[in-house]
Amino acid sequence: MLGYILRRILAVIPVMLLVAVFVFLLLRLTPGDPAAIIAGDMATPAQLERIREAMGLNQPLHIQFVTWLGQLLRGDLGVSLISNTPVASMIADRIGPTFAIAILTILMSVAMAVPMGVLAAWKHRSGADYAVMTFSVLGFSVPVFVIGYIFILIFSLKLGWFPVQGYTPISRGLGAFLSNAFLPALTLSTIYIALIARMTRANMLEVLGEDYIRTARAKGAPERTVLFRHALKNAAVPILTVIGTGFALLIGGVVVTETVFNIPGIGRLTVDAILARDYPVIQAMILLTSFLYVLVNLLIDLSYSFFDPRIRY
């Protein structure tokens, strides 16, 4: 097991390196120039050129890449070209909200989606099944920002249950945190619920057709036991997998919900950085999110053996 973890972690290195090369090239080949935004509207081309020089943007690409990689390996994410702030501190300031909301989203989604998927599979081709499926397809069909607006309209403006925007860290109390975080998490959940419910249903359907389910029924087990003790645990691995791969989806959604709900998270930071060509920030952010993705999926892979004893490393 330890050996396996080690090997998996080692395998992360080439993937991350590829991501790094990829991101670097992608950005440096992009038109757009951080010098221009720094210089502002009144700058002349000559001034621009001087700023580019000062920022090292005129050096050959491979030199820039090696320099950046070297810094990275020393744990230095660089300094924002635009605001001159260390990237690490920018991320540190803003990762909390994103993280908290992402976790809340996953918790809420799993809590809702798994029972839904189980129900749909159990009552295959029944009204409940169609209802769950329609809901989960709907979750995939409406843009996140529309869902967000609708929730704000209903829950904040009409009913006044939640503030329309903003973020309160969990350190100021769970209630305060939830009052801000609930709606964004709910918004993000819709697509995640759709994904997990669908996956749960598909796998439960499959598992429910297995011989050991027939065995469980032959033992006289009530349906609840059959579904949750016998079937769900067997269906867990692909469900976990989809939670892992859905993580990418979550990041995409976060970018949008952070805009709609004005949450000071890293999603918006990244989009802003891309639009401003703030290379160090973009590079760090994409590397970080990619690394998180890889890490989450690694953890999920490792958790498989908890659910399925056949999987040993």
Partner: protein
């Protein structure tokens, strides 16, 4: 001799999957809705009462009035016409993304699945590509090429490719162990021929399902790109950029989001439902299963 068993195999799945009578009523409605949307958008040029670009900023954000059944947008353009025509580009983006990513993914996936040497390298690259959050990648790619239709399609396609590759590779890896493939090897069939004639058809069924999801999510992603300011120009309306542009007026003129949103959701809902139906259909285990 037992009676001829029901046709549970995945043979000719494509043709059979597309034969509607085998779908449930949900899928029939979905197919109908989709057909209506497609026909309407195809005929948009003739149905639309106005040029979708003809503007009159002095009569902007009007409710349903004479000649503008759904009212006008913030440039005073006819919302109805824009939604109709917007469907064209949305569908084109969806279809192009689905087709291109499936084709490219198919080729790469086949190579990865069949040639052990290439597999490791290709899959590491795919892993890397997958690890980059697709929406960020798409925004960056659009920023790279400017938000033309082509670059939006490319930006949505590239993150989808690794998913298709994984799928195809998995199917190929499974299928190449099938006895009929081994039989073909024994019959002296060459590798490329086995690939094309025995393995590719196996991937079709899952790819059709995957394709519908890509189609649907591409239309959505385009909308989100527009929302984040990296979409197609408002001069070429899409459901996505109509909504993105209208979002500022969500509370004073919700129609701007409502109608394109409705069209988009109905369309994606139908495509997804058809995709799910296809999945259920094409999965022999689900058909055999009972109880």
């Amino acid at each position: 001799m037992s009676p001829v068993p029901p046709p549970t195999s995945a043979m000719q799945p494509v043709l059979r999957a597309l034969r509607l009578p085998q779908f449930g009523w949900g899928s029939k409605i979905a197919a109908l809705v989709l057909a209506v949307i497609v026909v309407l958008t195809l005929l948009a040029q003739w149905i639309a009462p106005h040029d979708p670009l003809a503007m009159n900023p002095l009569a902007r954000l009007k409710g349903p009035i004479e000649g503008h059944p759904l009212g006008t947008d913030n440039f005073g353009r006819d919302i109805f016409s824009r939604v109709l025509i917007g469907g064209q580009l949305s569908l084109i983006i969806g279809i192009a993304t689905a087709v291109v990513s499936v084709l490219i993914g198919l080729v790469i996936g086949m190579v990865a699945g069949f040639f052990r040497t290439a597999d490791a390298i290709i899959m590491r690259m795919m892993d890397a590509l997958m690890a980059i959050p697709s929406i960020l990648l798409a925004i960056a790619l659009v920023a790279l090429n400017g938000p033309s239709v082509g670059s939006v399609i490319a930006a949505i396609t590239i993150p989808e490719i690794p998913r298709v590759v994984r799928l195809v590779r998995a199917v190929v890896l499974a299928a190449r162990e099938e006895p009929y493939v081994e039989a073909a090897i024994a019959l002296g069939t060459s590798m490329p021929k086995i690939l094309v004639r025995h393995l590719v058809p196996n991937t079709l069924a899952p790819l059709i399902v995957q394709g519908t999801y890509i189609l649907a999510s591409a239309i959505l992603t385009e909308a989100i790109l527009s929302f984040l300011g990296a979409g197609v120009s408002t001069e070429t309306p899409t459901w996505g950029n109509i909504m993105a542009e209208g979002r500022m007026f969500f509370r004073i003129k919700p129609e701007l989001i409502l109608y394109p949103g409705l069209a988009l959701s109905l369309c994606i809902l139908s495509i997804n439902l058809l995709g799910d139906a296809a999945r259920d259909m094409l999965d022999p285990r689900l058909k055999k299963r009972a109880g």
